[in-house]
Amino acid sequence: MSRVNVLLSMAVSLLPLTALVFLFRESVGADVWGLMQEETWRASLGVTLYVTLVSTLCSLVLGTLAARAVYVNGQNWLLRWLKWPLFVPHIASAYLFYLLFADGFPFGLIEANERHHLVVIVTYIWKEVPFVFLMVLGTYAQLNTGYRDMAKTLQLNPWRQFSVAEWPFLVKPLLDSFWILVAFISFAYEVPALLGVTFPKLLGVLAYDRLTTGLFLNESEAYAVALIWTLFLFGGVLLTYVLTAKHRRRIEKGVRR
């Protein structure tokens, strides 16, 4: 029974990977060097990196703090309330934030569609903190509290206690969450299209606009950008996983004596 499930799941997973081959075939002929020189794409890449990194890092820190608050400080009420943003699809949350910031918030300070993309970042943080919280919660549930007790007994300061008794176990879920969020935020359309500005657009918005305007005449350009960005992310994933492989294996299987 479960073998059928695995085969079907693998067939489903094969699709996006074959999709990359199709992307490659269709982007042949695109002037990649020309794309890199084009001001619009360069500005878009800069703002995409800024929005992605700020939203991802803030979500990781806040999500971890929340999971820690539940397991270390017994703040169980968070379990109930942090679920709320999970019920809201990204597009709906973008509209809710648009309504909230439409006339400037708080006290007219920040408006929706402003050029620093602050509302885009806040929307992503609001949506992704519960996701990171869920990813890290499992690790905290399994964490051996003996390590922390030992660190306390040795009178380490709170930061050292965290770095020796919790951080090593958090590396894997945080690394997974980091790349999932980066892949998701850096090349998306829905949220930045609603809350972003006309220049510079985020990569996903620009690529989709270039693809669909002008009867698909510029399609190879959009496909090339999608492919290059995916390969760039794959490179990052591979590098960080290779660099942390030894450490993760030691945490998963223990030290061989």
Binding site: P16, S93, F187, A188, L211, A226, L233
Partner: protein, 231 residues
């Protein structure tokens, strides 16, 4: 005090829902959306639990490879994947069809569901599941996996519903603009600047996952009671 500030930060965005009275009407976009959600949620729950079970219990040298293979799509941006699948599906005449849209929706939701099921099973731990190893598959699902993973089934359903409801480009591109859902309508209404109508769609996008989550919770509790009565 700190608790109050955090609660306000979490709940404040919902205030937008009450800025004006939403209009109410019913059309096939809502029916399309509900059908998509139900099909994708059922497939996700069934495929992810079986796959996670296999990953946890099968000893083979291919395991790490298969694990990577199944989780790799998580790192492909959904939009880039959609572009590629658009080219691929166009060759098989699946662009503009419901089947095409459903396939791509399954592709973007399944890796998350497998991950959730796999994490939940690892937290519950092998010893609890090992007791069910020699049961026939159907009884294993009904008597062991279903009661133990009830919370996870609810989370998988919620996550896949929310991902399905969040897709605008995917449905617009793969559906070739022929398949309308609540999400695609929200964009059109938003461009038309009709706040009341846009709010109705936003309410729907939040209510569909909430109602499904509560309904599945009820169903699971009832199901577990029936299973317990039989054992």
């Amino acid at each position: 005090m700190r608790r109050l500030v955090i609660l306000v930060l979490i709940l404040l965005p919902f205030s937008g829902l009450f800025t004006s009275v939403p209009t109410f009407f019913f059309d096939d976009a809502i029916i399309n959306t509900v059908i998509q959600v139900l099909v994708i949620v059922s497939l996700n729950v069934w495929l992810s639990i079986g796959t996670a079970w296999w990953l946890l219990f099968t000893e083979t040298k291919w395991r790490t490879f298969i694990e990577w293979f199944l989780f790799l799509p998580l790192f492909i941006p959904a939009l880039a994947g959609t572009f590629g699948m658009y080219i691929a599906l166009a060759r098989f005449g699946l662009v503009g069809t419901t089947i095409g849209v459903l396939i791509v929706l399954l592709v973007v939701t399944l890796p998350y569901s497998i991950r959730l099921a796999y994490n939940a099973m690892s937290v519950i731990g092998r010893p609890m599941f090992e007791q069910a190893l020699f049961m026939p598959p159907l009884r294993r699902y009904r008597d062991v996996l279903f009661p133990l993973l009830s919370g996870t089934i609810q989370t998988i359903a919620l996550m896949s519903t929310v991902i399905v409801l969040g897709q605008f480009v995917l449905i617009q591109l793969i559906g070739a603009g022929l398949i309308s859902t609540v999400t695609t309508r929200l964009y059109q209404v938003y461009a038309g600047n009709d706040v009341a109508l846009a709010l109705q769609h936003t309410w729907l996008l939040i209510l569909i996952p909430a109602v499904l989550y509560i309904a599945i919770g009820w169903g699971i509790r009832l199901g577990v009671k029936i299973v317990k009565g039989r054992l």
